[in-house]
C-alpha cells in the first residue's frame, strides 16, 4: 500500500525522524493560512499525489510570498498533474502540502527495502540525493553504500557508522544521522514497511538533517495489524475498478486490451493473459477469482470486467478445490444476472469437468466451450474480432 508524502512524514516524525515543518491544504485560502502560520520568507507548495516525478512535472513550487503561495496552490489544486510516472492523463491534485523553505547545503539519499535474495532489510545510502536512485545504480553504482540488516537482530551501531562515513557526515550532522537512521529503521519494522525512500535527505547550512521528501510503501499482507496505516489509504489515488475488485476480494489489475479474463489462481491468470497475447489478442485485465469462487464472486468479477467494455471474455478455470460443476453453475447464473452481451469463451478443466461442461451446454446461453488453453485462447481472440 502506498501513502502520500505528507502522511509518510507524519508516520516518520512519530519515530523521531526530523521533517520540515508544514501543513496540509485543500484550498488556496487554506494554503495561504498554513504559510502564514509557518512564518518565514520562503515556502514550498507540493502537490500530494501518489506518483513520483512531481518536481519534473511542475508539482513542486518554491514561493517567496503568501500571495505566491495562494497563486501556486490555486493553480495546482484541481489540476491534473502529469509527471513521468502518471501517464499522459495525469493525476488530479486534491491536496497540497505547504512547507517551510530550508537553507540547503547538501542533498543525500537514504532508502530501506526488503531484499528477497538475502532475506534481509537493505539500507541504501548515496551522496547523489535528488536523483533517481535507479539511474545512480546504473551509471555510478559505487556511489551507493549498502548495509544488510538482519531483522531478527536489528540495526547495529556499525551499520550507522558505515552509512555516516559513506555520506561524509561529521560533527553534529553525524549525531543527527544516528537519530535519523534509528528512527527510520524503527518505523520500518514497527509498521511492516516494504520500502522507504528519503530522497532527498537534506543537510541544512546549520548542519541539521531533515527528510525533504518521503516515500513509504507497506506490506499489504501485514496491514491487518496496522489499522492506523490502513486509515491512511486514499482510494482516490487508485483505479476505481481495482478498488471495487478489492472490496469483492478479487485480485484485479486493469490493462488496456480488449479481451477480459476471469481465471482462478495468479499464475494461471498470468499464463492466460500470455497465451491470449500469443495468439494475437490483447488482455483487458488480470483477474484472479481465488480458490473459493462462488456464484456471487463470479458475478462480481463479470460486473467489473464488463465495465471495462471488453470485446470478448475468456473464463479459464482449473477446478481443484472448486469443482467444475459448481463453477459452471456460477458462470451461467452470473452471465444471466448481468445480461452478458459479449462473446464468452469458457474453458473448464479438473474436478467434475464433464458435469461442468454439460451445465454450460444445457444453459441455452451462447457460451463458446473450449477444452484446452490453446483452443480457448484462439477462440476468444477470434470472437473479439467478430469472427
Amino acid at each position: 500500500m502506498k501513502i502520500h508524502e505528507y502522511q509518510a512524514k507524519g508516520v516518520l516524525a512519530a519515530f523521531g525522524v526530523r521533517v520540515p515543518r508544514g501543513g496540509l491544504a485543500s484550498t488556496a485560502e487554506q494554503a495561504r493560512e498554513v504559510a502564514r502560520e509557518l512564518g518565514g520568507a520562503v515556502f514550498v507548495v507540493k502537490a500530494q499525489i501518489h506518483a513520483g516525478g512531481r518536481g519534473k512535472g511542475g508539482g513542486i513550487k518554491v514561493c517567496r510570498s503568501l500571495d505566491e503561495v495562494f497563486q501556486k496552490a490555486d493553480a495546482l489544486l484541481g489540476s491534473d498533474l502529469v509527471t513521468p510516472q502518471t501517464g499522459p492523463e495525469g493525476r488530479r491534485v486534491r491536496r497540497v502540502w505547504i512547507e517551510e523553505g530550508l537553507a540547503i547545503a547538501r542533498e543525500l539519499y537514504l532508502g530501506l527495502v526488503l531484499d528477497r535474495e538475502t532475506q534481509r532489510i537493505v539500507l541504501m545510502a548515496s551522496t547523489e540525493g535528488g536523483m533517481e536512485i535507479e539511474e545512480v545504480a546504473e551509471h555510478t553504482p559505487e556511489k551507493i553504500a549498502k548495509e544488510f540488516i538482519d531483522p531478527t537482530v536489528g540495526i547495529q551501531p556499525f551499520h550507522i557508522r558505515n552509512v555516516v562515513a559513506a555520506l561524509g557526515l561529521t560533527g553534529d550532522s553525524a549525531k543527527g544521522a544516528r537519530v535519523f537512521l534509528e528512527g527510520l529503521y524503527a518505523m520500518f519494522v514497527a509498521k511492516d514497511a516494504s520500502l522507504v525512500e528519503i530522497n532527498p535527505l537534506v543537510v541544512t547550512q546549520d548542519g541539521e538533517l531533515l527528510a525533504l521528501d518521503a516515500k513509504v510503501n507497506f506490506d499489504d499482507n501485514a496491514l491487518y495489524r496496522h489499522p492506523d496505516i490502513v486509515a491512511l489509504r486514499d482510494t482516490d489515488e487508485e483505479e476505481p475498478l481495482e478498488v471495487e475488485a478489492s472490496q469483492a476480494e478479487l485480485s484485479y489489475i486493469k490493462l488496456d486490451g480488449e479481451i477480459g479474463n476471469l481465471v482462478n489462481g495468479a499464475g494461471l491468470a498470468m499464463a492466460t493473459m500470455d497465451i491470449v497475447q500469443h495468439f494475437g489478442g490483447r488482455p483487458a485485465n488480470f483477474l484472479d477469482v481465488g480458490g473459493s469462487a462462488d456464484r456471487a464472486k463470479v458475478k462480481a468479477a463479470f460486473q467489473i470486467i464488463l465495465k471495462d467494455r471488453p470485446k470478448a471474455i475468456l473464463v479459464n478455470i482449473f477446478g481443484g478445490i472448486m469443482h467444475c460443476d459448481v463453477i459452471a453453475d456460477g458462470v451461467v447464473a452470473a452471465a444471466r444476472d448481468v445480461s452478458l452481451d459479449v462473446p464468452l469463451v469458457v474453458r473448464l478443466q479438473g474436478t467434475n469437468v464433464e458435469q461442468g461442461r454439460e451445465i454450460l451446454a444445457r444453459s441455452g446461453l451462447a457460451i463458446v466451450p473450449a477444452q484446452t488453453m490453446e483452443e480457448a485462447a484462439r477462440k476468444v481472440v477470434a470472437a473479439s474480432r467478430g469472427e
Binding site: R120, D219, N221, L268, A269, D274
Partner: protein, 291 residues
C-alpha cells in the same frame, strides 16, 4: 522413488478444525496420506473423523510420532504455527497459508534453517508424490505416478502442467509448489538438487513467473549441477512492470525479473522454455522423446 514425502511420511494438520483444515485433511486421507493427528489449541482431546486433535504440536508429535506437518491456520497465526512445529521436532513443514507478512517470514527462515527443517511455502499448494502421499491442496486425481519432477511457484498453473503431463501418459515422481511469496522456505535450487539426487526422477518441469531472481539461479544450477533434462515455462510476459500480479512475489520492477529476461537466461543455460502454457507437457515430452 520421490523427494521430500513418501508412503512412510506421518503428517499432522495444524488448524485441522478450521473449514479448510478439515476439508483438506479428509482429502489427504482419501488420497492415502498418513494423517496421524491434528492440532488446534484449545481443542485437544476431540476428533475430526478418526483423527485425534491435540492442543500443541509437541504433544501431537509425542503421541503420534509425526515427522511432517501441514499448516492451514490464518495468516496472523502462521508464524507462531511454523515456529511451534520446528520447536516440536517436525522435519518437513508445509505452509499453505496465504498472506503471511514478509517480516514474519524473515523471522521464521533463520530458525527453520538452523534446525535443518524443510519448509515448503508459505502461500503454496504443497507437495505430492503421486500414489504415495499428498500434503496440500492440489487435486490428487490429475496426478499419475512416474518419473518426472515438477517444481513451481504457482498453484493452478501447476495443476494445468501436471494435467498435460498425465494426459500424455507421463507420470510424476514428486510435484512441489514452493509458493509465490518473496521470502519462502524452499527455493527452486533446493528442489532441483533433490530431484538430481533422486533415482526415481529422470526429468524436471520448472514453472516460474515474473519477479525476483529465483529462475536465474535455477538456470545456473541446472547448467552446473544437473545432467537430467529440465524444461520450463515462465508466466507473466504480458504483466505490466511494477504491479503485483496476485502473488506478492510476482512484481517485475525497473527491468528486473521480467519474463523475457528469465526466458532468455533459461535458454542461454540450455533449458528449453515452452512458448505458451499449453505447450508445457508437449515440450517435456519432446525433450525426453516420449508421448
Amino acid at each position: 522413488m520421490s523427494i521430500f514425502v513418501d508412503e512412510n511420511t506421518r503428517v499432522l494438520v495444524q488448524g485441522i478444525t478450521g473449514t479448510a483444515g478439515t476439508y483438506h485433511a479428509r482429502q489427504m486421507i482419501a488420497y492415502g496420506t498418513k494423517v496421524v493427528g491434528g492440532v488446534t489449541p484449545g481443542r485437544g482431546g476431540t476428533r475430526v473423523d478418526d483423527v485425534p486433535v491435540f492442543d500443541s504440536v509437541r504433544q501431537a508429535v509425542a503421541e503420534t510420532g509425526a515427522d511432517a506437518s501441514v499448516i492451514f491456520v490464518p495468516a496472523p497465526f502462521a508464524k507462531d504455527a511454523m515456529l511451534e512445529a520446528v520447536d516440536a521436532g517436525i522435519r518437513l513443514l508445509v505452509c499453505i497459508t496465504e498472506g503471511v507478512p514478509v517480516l514474519d517470514m524473515m523471522a521464521v527462515r533463520p530458525v527453520v534453517d538452523r534446525a535443518g527443517v524443510r519448509l515448503i511455502g508459505p502461500n503454496c499448494p504443497g507437495v505430492i508424490s503421486p500414489g504415495k502421499c499428498k500434503i496440500g491442496i492440489m487435486p490428487g486425481h490429475i496426478h499419475m505416478a512416474g518419473d518426472v519432477g515438477v517444481v513451481s511457484r504457482s498453484g493452478t498453473l501447476t495443476y494445468e502442467a501436471v494435467a498435460q503431463l498425465t494426459a500424455l501418459g507421463i507420470g510424476q515422481s514428486t510435484g512441489v509448489g514452493i509458493g509465490g511469496d518473496p521470502v519462502n522456505g524452499t527455493s527452486f535450487v533446493d528442489v532441483l538438487a533433490a530431484f538430481q539426487q533422486d533415482p526415481g526422477t529422470s526429468a524436471v518441469v520448472l514453472i516460474g513467473e515474473i519477479g525476483g531472481g529465483a529462475e536465474e539461479k535455477a538456470a545456473a544450477f541446472v547448467r552446473d549441477h544437473m545432467d537430467k533434462p529440465v524444461v520450463a515455462f515462465i508466466a507473466g510476459r504480458t504483466a505490466p512492470p511494477g504491479r503485483r500480479m496476485g502473488h506478492a512475489g510476482a512484481i517485475s520492477a525497473g527491468g528486473q525479473g521480467t519474463a523475457e529476461e528469465k526466458i532468455a537466461v533459461l535458454r542461454d543455460h540450455g533449458i528449453e522454455v515452452a512458448e505458451t502454457p499449453a505447450e508445457i507437457g508437449r515440450t517435456l515430452a519432446r525433450r525426453i522423446g516420449r508421448g
